[in-house]
Subunit: 228 residues, 2 copies
Amino acid sequence: MTATQRAHALLRAGILDGTRPAGSRLREDTLADELGLSRTPVREALQRLGTEGLVDHLAHRGARVASWSSTEEEETFALRAVLEGLGARRAAERATAADVAALRELCTRMEATTSPGAPRDLDALTGLNHRFHHELLRIADSPRLEAMVDTVIHVPVVMRTFLRYSDAALARSQHHHRELCDALEVGDGGWAESVMRSHVLAARAQLTTAPRTSATPAPADRAQEDTA
Amino acid sequence: MTATQRAHALLRAGILDGTRPAGSRLREDTLADELGLSRTPVREALQRLGTEGLVDHLAHRGARVASWSSTEEEETFALRAVLEGLGARRAAERATAADVAALRELCTRMEATTSPGAPRDLDALTGLNHRFHHELLRIADSPRLEAMVDTVIHVPVVMRTFLRYSDAALARSQHHHRELCDALEVGDGGWAESVMRSHVLAARAQLTTAPRTSATPAPADRAQEDTA
DNA sequence: GAGCCGCCGCTTGCATGCAATTCGGGCTTG
DNA sequence: CAAGCCCGAATTGCATGCAAGCGGCGGCTC
């Protein structure tokens, strides 16, 4: 892995998990020092984070971690709704039986992490959920779309969403996944797109809801590897 | 304007207008020489073009102008359909009377460029059309969405689409613009989104149509061939 | 004669030094 | 006393040198 990629991954993780709070300054030489690199790869990583909307650049006055107002977060979900909706449509038009089987396997495992007795394992659930959505995009076979979704999905935000889910909302989320599998199986793109939109917009509705537990906002580790 | 921005603009223009054909190599030092800059800004511009999908990077083997297969171009239009559809919906939810008036003014001017007697002025029409779509996104008030649309709309491609338009298709395009204005005026987001989708998908349908005139087929799209 | 290994050139990737630009503070002047 | 200007510090933006990685070609071995 190149130094630029490392810098990008580390900075992105730090921003998303709250280690680098919104508004904090990101000086090239300081970061280079912190990460044990030179300014060049740090600079390139910052530029890329800028295009992803995670940092703001201010002329010659340095870069800062972008602040995400709640309305901007809602915008992000609106974007996800249409982009992942398109992905689901395309996936339905292309999915093979094996693809659907793989997705159903992920559904089963997700359901296992939320079975009554077991404590909620949000890490596992988030990971599986992420894999489900990514697998769907892989089936959709549009690298461009995949890359765009990657820039708008920030895993820790998704995890915070799960934190807010009531049992009923969590169950609905799982039902959406199952419904998507069914739509893919019969190749109904319109159905798949519609379900995916519902799925994302349902998640958005949780943004304005109080967290379900008072658990710490979980210093969510791991930001996904950027594969793009 | 910074050197990086200049390099980005020049390279992008060259790629889109066909000066740099798909598949041609883009060596950092050669480009730096051509543009009278050093490798650093050229390098940053190339990276940015990479995230925009206009160039492909091949590890330590250099960058090349991306080749756009016809299916990829169709994917781009599908992306535009959902993204601009969302933009139209948001615009309808926010437009003021003055916004609608400004858009209608643009419609009038577009219609003037296609009035019976006048020869088709595609440059003017493309420019006005671009302004119309951009104005709509400005009204939508979502910088993130605006940036995304910018990366998927490549003006010369749109112009080639106009080249293929029959008189009837051109008239339909204008009617779509008018209809969008009406939807914005009454604040009907669903209507606006629907019309915008139709508008973009109608344009996509022209991709597989033979050009209307025998005007230069725009040397822009052709497979690689450079070194092998 | 064919296959594999190692060397070499080409190009990017990274490091570092210098110039350009912006903002803020203090001094001068009306 | 207020306002404008100028200068300085801080930080990015750009240039250039150096090294690492990758592919191709030739030679060596079997």
